[in-house]
């Protein structure tokens, strides 16, 4: 199973809950760049191992994350 995470980076407040919720360490907060509100936002750094479990999106209080997945054929 392969997953892909799409982040609404402008909506993200950098609370880090998605980073903690991901069982595989796919997400991280941007170390330097910030969005227009000044938040370090979340982004996938190891997307190749994402399985699309959506844990990150479920715990996101701001609804910033959309998750897709596809079975390996």
């Amino acid at each position: 199973m392969h997953g892909a995470v799409v982040v609404d980076t402008e909506r993200c407040k950098g609370c880090n809950l998605c980073v903690l919720a991901c069982p595989l360490g796919v997400l991280e907060l941007t170390p330097k760049t910030v969005n227009t509100k000044g938040y370090h936002y979340t982004h996938p750094v190891k997307e190749d191992i994402c399985i699309g479990c959506a844990s990150c999106a479920i715990v996101c209080p701001d609804g910033c994350i959309t998750v897709y997945r596809k079975k390996e054929e």
């Binding site: 997953g3 407040k13 809950l17 999106a57 479920i58 897709y68």
Partner: protein, 256 residues
């Protein structure tokens, strides 16, 4: 498999509920209000009640709940949301009517309205966010603040001699004959969020079925007020709040 391939040809697993609009929420980073808003929006849409919901927002951090969930709302005076909801439900019996309140609003200034609405068997649901603090006004002691917990109005920690005891509203609600379903949940993990969503759904169903009043307490956090990171506050909540406010259903007569 490329990212584009997954997005374009794969299955959509999770997306912010459509009923939760695009307006960025004013809550602090990591605030559980947002998570509960998402769940409420999801449940309303899952139930197909978007057009027949009238919600009541409180005074406190969630005063602006009406900006985010696209149903009809009335914004109540501090603590009076259950009074509004009682009247709305009686005047519009086929509508889904719920209030969304924090602990200062519900368990302090609005205790009378809360208890009487619940015990009058109003067919409403009260969503109760308990983070043991007044968030909006800057982190003052709430009726639900734990003994020993520090806030700006009990800076040395809450103590019985000065401040009395924290109030367990859900426990009171559970002994009222007017209530149908009283439950305590959290939204700090994926399984907890799933359970909380099921609880909100059950409460909404019961209120529509005319089975009585329903209280869904969400034991929550206030990162800013508690002066902790979201991660640390969830840990503090698990270690301190949950033992005092134990999770699970306190009452469920709807199944009978």
């Amino acid at each position: 498999m490329t990212r584009e391939e997954i997005i374009n040809t794969g299955e959509l697993v999770y997306k912010k509920p459509e009923l939760l609009n695009e307006t960025p929420m004013h809550y602090c980073p990591g605030c559980p209000h947002g998570t509960v808003h998402k769940l409420v929006a999801e449940v309303i849409d899952d139930m197909g009640m978007r057009d027949k919901t009238i919600a009541v927002s409180p005074v406190g951090c969630s005063v602006f709940a009406y900006r985010y969930i696209d149903v009809d709302w009335e914004e109540a005076a501090h603590g009076r949301a259950p009074a509004l909801a009682s009247a709305i439900k009686r005047l519009w019996p086929d509508r889904l009517v719920f209030t969304y309140q924090g602990d200062g609003d519900l368990a302090c200034i609005g205790t009378a309205e809360t208890i009487h609405a619940l015990n009058r068997k109003e067919n409403i649901t009260i969503i109760f966010i308990n983070n043991a603090i007044y968030g909006m006004t800057g982190g003052q002691m709430a009726p639900t603040t734990l003994l020993g917990q520090k806030t700006v109005t009990c800076p040395y920690g809450r103590e019985v001699a000065l401040h009395g005891y924290p109030l367990k509203i859900a426990d009171i609600a559970a002994i009222l004959p007017g209530t149908c379903y009283v439950t305590r949940q959290t939204v700090h993990t994926v399984p907890a969020i799933r359970k909380a969503k099921a609880a909100i759904r059950k409460a909404f169903e019961y209120s529509l079925q005319g089975k009585g009043s329903n209280l869904v307490e969400i034991v929550s956090t206030c990162n800013s007020g508690w002066k902790m990171s979201p991660e640390k506050s969830f840990k503090w909540m698990e270690e301190n709040m949950v033992p005092f406010y134990p999770l699970g259903d306190l009452k469920d007569t709807g199944k009978e």
